[in-house]
Amino acid sequence: MSSQTANQTSEQNFEQKLKTYRLSHDEYRLMTSLLARDPHPIEWALFSALWSEHCSYKSSKIHLRKFSYRNEKTPDMDGENAGVVDLGFGEKIAFKMESHNHPSFIEPVQGAATGVGGILRDIFTMGARPIMSANFLCFGEVEAPRMKELMRGVVKGISSYGNCVGVPTVTGQTNIHARFNKNILVNALSVGYFGPGQKMALSKAAGPGNLVVYVGAKTGRDGVHGASMASESFDENSESKRPNVQIGDPFFEKLLIEACLEVLEKEYVVAMQDMGAAGLTSSSFEMASRGGVGLVIDLKKVPLRDSSMSAEDILLSESQERMLLVCEPINFEKLQATFKKWGLDAAVLGEVQKERKIKLMWGPETLTNIDPDLIVEKAPRYDRAFSKWAYPNRTDYLKAPVNFDPKKWIAESLQKLTLNQAHWIHNQYDQRVGARTAKACESSVAFVKLDHSGRGLGLVVGCRPEVMLMDAEIGALDAVYYPALQLALKGAEALAITDCLNYGNPQKVELMSEFVASVDAIAKASHEIDAPVISGNVSFYNETLGENIISTPATGVVGLRESVEDLISDQFQTAFQTLILVQMNWVESWVHVLNSENTISKFKQNAAADVPQFIKKCLKLESAINKQGLNVGSIKAVGLGGIGTTCLKMTTDEIGFDLSFEQANQTTDLFKDQFYGFIIASEQGDEVFTLLNNHFKGLAVEVKKIGKTTEQKIKFSADTEIDFKEFRSNFVKGL
């Protein structure tokens, strides 16, 4: 072989290696300069995993700093697994939302199931018992290839996992849009509870000589390189990535929850961390880095499902239901006994050392001895190119769509499942296990009763992809404002936010611009309503064959009210109640109606509108109503598709509505989107009308009577009526 060909081959090999480990040339140079030498074989794998977008947040980190705002209820958790909110009375919650988009598109049942499992571990690794879960789902059009299978599979995955672990799934949002045909979104959220005196567990490794212990399921090949898979776009070969998807076992997870909470309660544990993305690699490096210590770990001691696994496979496996913890040697036997009681193994992998180095051993052989901060703290940070947000769809002259036929639109929307109640999804979730649930998926806001104080903890997921499609800034403000309004209308004050930022390829300027505009907007809105963004996750590269999803910053917002008694329903209660609309004017558009024609709506924005003030007023409404002793049957924020669509969603099998007699506007206007408003139904129409006028006095808010509830009738205007029974039967239909 000539030396020239040898050179060429080694260059090809090198390029291939970069590709396999998904590292760029610059990243390779940074890696060698940090190490001051060429990396050892195992170090390629470590850098690849921990510098993946998924683990390092390299494209988003400089922007996520904008979420640093905290108030007295939200302690700074310094990079712990989930954010914490202090609710007073000694009660705290931990909560977080996370994406599992890529695995769910490849294998929907396992992808979604392990998404639920992963977020639960983030919560109980802190010592909190998970008390409620939620999800945010975006699917493509029902008729798109594989979509029905994906929808059914994702729902099955969430339900089979969540139901078995015994955590109620209390709320969720399902969006359908063509822009998710080739890349669905599956975001899972979980909330954990700390009662008075219950200690919080941390992930900071500490105490040289303490044992590093592996607990839970054995390690297999599933999910090897999963983190870096989730950090790149899909192509025609995405199906072949199936072996990268992890397999979940909810029964194991349930045992792990009980065993971990028990050893934490008995104080056998110094630090604990779940093995999530990039498995043992990220958990060990993060625990060491956060604790400012080193670890010695013998990979040969990791319990394996398949004894032929290499050190690299073991380090990168994303097998589910595993935790890494640190305990004092004196407590190990007791710890092991507790895990054994729950049918689980605990194996010592090594120990904590003072020197800040991670020493990975393969029996007697040292594979690497490396400063964890070189990989964790010194990971690359990219300030990706973006441009200032320019409101491409904003206009001063908003035109109504021509020839809009509400009857036809409703019928088509029901066919496409875009208007339907997601009953077929929700009734596969156990919504009441735990016996804390006061309101679940039937309500726009879920409430559970807190064990100690008896107060109501509310939860809503937010972000409406259609609004994001119209404008990334408005859409992201809406992802905070709208859930906060929904909470306020049920008498709950928004306290804190978690987010799951789902975007396309951040190396495309237009997408990075949307990312930056929406992060800025979420930070602004969260500050305005005093609900800090305390945890979250970023999922980039939601792109298939160059086609990107709608940028979707999903949010989860928690709120608190004094009790779970007397919660006002979303649905109509009895016939002949007066329907009153309370409406402010921030943004006007036809986003929902035009979207069903695949047209992006223009919008008109009123710069003088004060949304936070409106939300504040809404929060005080319930007590104002109670003070006057008035009866309100139902209350609901006006959702997309305007008053008409919202009233349809408030119907029950017995009660419909009639908007024909006090309506001055055209029927088309009933389907216009105007942010924000709400509908209230009461048999004391005149009294409630007067109260609303007084309550919102001084704000630019319109209060008007718009109709009445009826017995099994749906009438929009004198000439627009739809068949009640037919609508109801289609409305509850799903897959």
């Binding site: 045992l255 016996a435 779970v564 008694e565």
Partner: protein, 215 residues
């Protein structure tokens, strides 16, 4: 002296805390009965087997739990004609143990189902119906994948003759159960099993307080 209740706990039980809260709210005392241990049948006045996914529902729901040491003691407890209540997975375990007749199959649409159901009390001759009247209508939630009650024709007939059919679904049968059966008892009426969850319907804020009639 309050009622002493034993609550069986298997690997995968997930309604244990909920049942305990319920029992304690009735000024009774509650002890967990761990699946690996036997207990003294004289130490308790009542045993409840809560819902969940014992052994992850592997093999068949309740099949593995039925073989555990704690169930040996439950059998002895049953012989003394003391009251036993099995809820959801607890009902499945009682059927698998042979303490109740019949079996619970996959729901007819093959899906897990969570919803509110309307029930009719067919007979109130058992310990858990003391506060109910025959013919009373109850609203309770269900949450199960295998609640489709099945028994052979002869068995069903015998059960009907002996007033063993306790609760039936009204309006809608959510899982395909024969004769709309939601709950049954043994022939002595001391062992009762039902698919709905009374512990999740104790006060109005939960959506119904009809679960309060059971204890």
């Amino acid at each position: 002296m309050g009622l002493k209740v034993g609550i069986a706990r298997f690997l995968g039980t997930n309604c244990d805390e909920d049942v305990r809260k319920w029992v304690l709210s009735k000024s009774a005392t509650a002890d967990y009965l761990w699946y690996e241990d036997q207990f003294d049948p004289n130490a308790y006045d009542m045993v409840i087997i809560p819902g969940g996914f014992s052994y992850g529902d592997y093999l068949r729901c309740g099949a593995l739990a039925a073989l555990t040491p704690v169930m040996k003691s439950v059998r002895e407890f049953a012989k003394k004609e003391k009251p036993i209540l099995g809820i959801c997975n607890g009902f499945q375990i009682l059927c698998e143990s042979g303490l109740l007749p019949g079996a619970l199959l996959r729901n007819k649409d093959q899906r897990f189902k969570d919803q509110w159901v309307t029930l009719k009390v067919e007979q109130n001759k058992n310990h858990f119906s003391k506060k109910m009247t025959t013919g009373q209508i109850l609203k309770l939630p269900i949450a199960h994948g295998e609640g489709n009650y099945y028994a052979e024709g002869d068995t069903l007939k015998m059960m009907a003759d002996q007033n063993q059919i306790w609760l039936t679904y009204r309006q809608e049968n959510p899982n395909g159960a024969l004769m709309n059966i939601a709950g049954i008892t043994n022939e002595k009426h001391n062992i009762c099993g039902l698919m709905p969850h009374p512990e999740r319907a104790q006060t109005t804020w939960m959506g119904s307080s009809d679960g309060a009639f059971f204890l």
